[in-house]
């Protein structure tokens, strides 16, 4: 980006500065620690200059927003054209409880919906399954039946709002329930917009909400790609997620590398099915964490866009620029929230959200300050949403595209992130690819190592966490409690009983049998799942059918 002669002059000036101004300053005031590192322990130098950007071509490395390689953003005008979607992840209790929370959030200005499901739903169990004991509605909403899905979106205009669903192993089933619900309202699927997370690879690596082994799981994912591209063209059939990889302990570089490696693996599986890349790749979307270290996070998003665009175009031969775009949702780092002095989390979340916005996110969830204790209470959620609104309307950061583009530091960090990602791609390939590496526990061990190192740094006070290992106060945390009610649990159990009693048993049995056969064969399972849902088969019944055919995954044990 700089002429060699200019760089030579800068280098001379730098050396002179080091020998005079800097040297004198360090004599008077030495730096207060030996190493300055990012949240991910990447060493950061005192000063970055044009020398760190060098003679690399601006047009090749950065280009213009809305154009390859999209380093500066996927839209030509970014937030001047449209602000990011403010999409708060929400769910607790039964569908009626969560429906009220959705309406509350819409009333306060959120612009997209995002469903958090409870643990039994994530694992494909109905609320009344023995495995679900104690887990109803505690960290998300229970959706066992089509009726639950109807209640969840009651009075919400699903034709005109986009809905994201954090669901993975049983993603196809919950999506089918959403599609069936829209069908009942007479809304054509072509009008529906939204996302299913549907990223099973990172479940084995990090979030651990897996049911089936990798191969049948990947088949279900590709079934949704294929079905979506034909019938629900505006739906993102996957959200390839680094968020949970990071939450489990990965560094920013690992989050970036593992997420993109997973992305390429989905592309390969789609191609193996015989799908054309530009038929399904435009509907692949991404999801990243927004952690504490502002510049490291911004660099991560920028590197992600550049790598994805390059690999889609150069390696996979995509011709449609829509396939080159890395569109992403982001969420502030849940793992960074402290139980100590919880109000301080509002500040952490604001800085993290700023990183996501400066990094060009398409949608954003901001965590609530009370989430080291519970699913958030109303007031805490509203403050989290207000944080985004302040960024959008008061801070001025959305006025121009990629405001940090050209910063010597941010560009150098972006390049560093990119290099680290390619090193990991090589290591993963050497292990035989993503799925063999999962079987060997590679990702799991890398993540566990980083998590332990981070914790040790806090223990050893190499890393300061305000309120935890420094600036500690001894006072009880003031958090407004939110508990799931027994009434909600009873409502949910009653609904399940009624559904099983009232549905047509012959139609139900036929649909389950047809689904079982589809799972045993190689047809696309989506139409059969939809029929089962329409026949009021519950989530647990559908997953049990699949468990019998596909088996269940057992992960390598390590720590």
């Amino acid at each position: 980006m700089f002429h060699p002669e200019e760089l030579k002059a800068v280098e001379e000036r730098l050396r002179a500065w080091e020998g005079t101004t800097l040297r004198d300053s360090l004599k008077k005031q030495p730096e207060w620690r030996g190493d300055f590192v990012t949240t991910s322990s990447v060493p950061i130098r005192r000063l970055y200059t044009p020398l760190d950007v060098g003679t690399k071509s601006y047009n090749e490395r950065l280009g213009m927003p809305g154009e390859y390689p999209y380093t500066r953003g996927i839209h030509p005008t970014m937030y001047r054209g449209r602000l990011w979607t403010m999409r708060m992840f929400a769910g607790y209790g039964d569908a009626a409880d969560t429906n009220r929370r959705f309406k509350y959030l819409i009333e306060h200005g959120e612009t997209g919906l995002s469903v958090a499901f409870d643990m039994p739903t994530l694992y494909g169990y109905d609320t009344d399954a023995p495995e679900a004991k104690g887990e109803f509605g505690t960290c998300g909403v229970a959706v066992s039946s089509l009726r639950d899905m109807e209640i969840l979106f009651d009075g919400i205009d699903v034709a005109n709002v986009s809905t994201s669903m954090t669901i993975n192993s049983p993603a196809a089933i919950l999506w089918a329930k959403y599609l069936a619900m829209a069908e009942e309202h007479g809304i054509p699927w072509t009008k529906l917009r939204g996302t299913i997370q549907n990223d099973i690879l990172k479940e084995y690596q990090a979030q651990k909400e897996w049911i089936f082994p990798p191969e049948p799981s990947m088949r279900l994912v590709v079934d949704t790609f294929e079905f979506g591209s034909k019938h629900v063209p505006q739906w993102n059939t996957i959200s390839i997620s680094g968020y949970h990889i990071r939450e489990a302990g990965a560094t920013a570089g690992q989050e970036l590398a593992f997420t993109l490696a997973n992305g390429f693996e989905y592309v390969r599986w789609g191609l193996e099915r015989g799908l054309k890349i530009d038929e399904f790749a435009p509907r692949l979307s991404f999801f990243f964490n927004a952690h504490n270290d502002l510049f490291e996070e911004i660099a991560k998003y920028r590197a992600a866009r550049r790598i994805w665009a390059r690999e889609m175009k150069e390696t996979f031969g995509s011709r449609n620029p829509r396939s080159w775009l890395l569109r992403f949702h982001s969420q502030t780092a849940g793992v960074s929230l402290t139980a100590q002095q919880p109000e301080v989390n509002i500040v952490r979340t604001a800085i993290q959200a700023l990183a996501a916005v400066l990094g060009g996110t398409q949608s954003l969830h901001t965590n609530s300050y009370d989430e080291a204790y519970q699913v958030p209470a109303e007031k805490a959620v509203r403050i989290a949403l207000r944080t985004q609104q302040i960024l959008a309307h008061e801070s001025g950061v959305a006025n121009t595209v990629d405001p940090l583009g050209g910063s010597y530091f941010v560009e150098a960090l972006t390049d560093h992130m990119e290099e680290e990602a390619y090193q990991y791609f090589d290591r993963i390939e050497a292990l035989g690819g993503v799925i063999p590496a999962i079987r060997k526990g590679f990702f799991q061990q890398e993540i566990a190592n980083s998590a332990y190192r981070y914790q040790k740094e806090i223990e050893d006070k190499e890393r300061t966490i305000v309120g935890v290992n420094e600036f500690v106060v001894d006072e009880p945390a003031a958090v407004e409690p939110l508990r799931v009610t027994t009434e909600a649990y009873e409502r949910q159990l009653g609904r399940l009983r009624r559904i099983r009693k009232d549905r047509d048993p012959k139609k139900h049995a036929r649909a389950i049998e047809a689904l079982r056969k589809a799972c045993e064969g190689d047809e696309n399972t989506m139409p059969r799942i939809l029929d089962a849902v329409r026949a009021h088969a519950t989530l647990g019944e559908i997953c049990d059918t699949m468990r019998v055919v596909f088996g269940v995954w057992e992960e390598p044990l390590l720590y």
Partner: protein
């Protein structure tokens, strides 16, 4: 040489958040203890069986999904029923303050919330084995 302290780190219920459990397992190992990690989605019966089979001194339970009240006390009860009431049980995770006294009353001897220093947990298990 004194006998090594043996600890079972267990994940009851459906919760998949295993970062904390693994970090604690490693800290206990680094502190010289024998650590057995159960892996995810263990029933109370699985955990009690593993604890008895492995002849552990203590169990550390981890749950971040909110199901701790439904899962932790039953494990203590089951241990007693199997004649293994001498095994010390501690728990950790996302646990509201108001649940802590209830868990202690149910025989969970310590509850470690977010931000607990590892050294505190290590010290607890050292004392537990005495």
């Amino acid at each position: 040489m004194p006998k090594k302290i043996r600890v079972l780190i267990a994940k009851p219920g459906l919760d998949g958040h295993d970062r904390g459990a693994k970090v604690v397992a490693r800290a206990l190992r680094d502190a010289g203890m024998e650590v057995i990690y159960t892996g995810l989605r263990q029933t109370p019966e699985d955990i009690v069986e593993a604890a008895i089979q492995e002849d552990v001194d203590a169990i550390g339970l981890s749950c971040l999904s909110g199901a701790h009240m439904a899962l932790f006390p039953g494990i203590v009860k089951l241990l007693k029923k199997r004649g293994a009431g001498d095994i010390v049980v501690a728990g950790g995770g996302i646990i509201p303050d108001e649940d802590v006294p209830k868990l202690k009353k149910a025989g969970i001897q310590a509850v470690f919330g977010p931000g607990t220093p590892l050294i505190e947990i290590v010290q607890f298990f050292r004392n537990a084995a005495k």
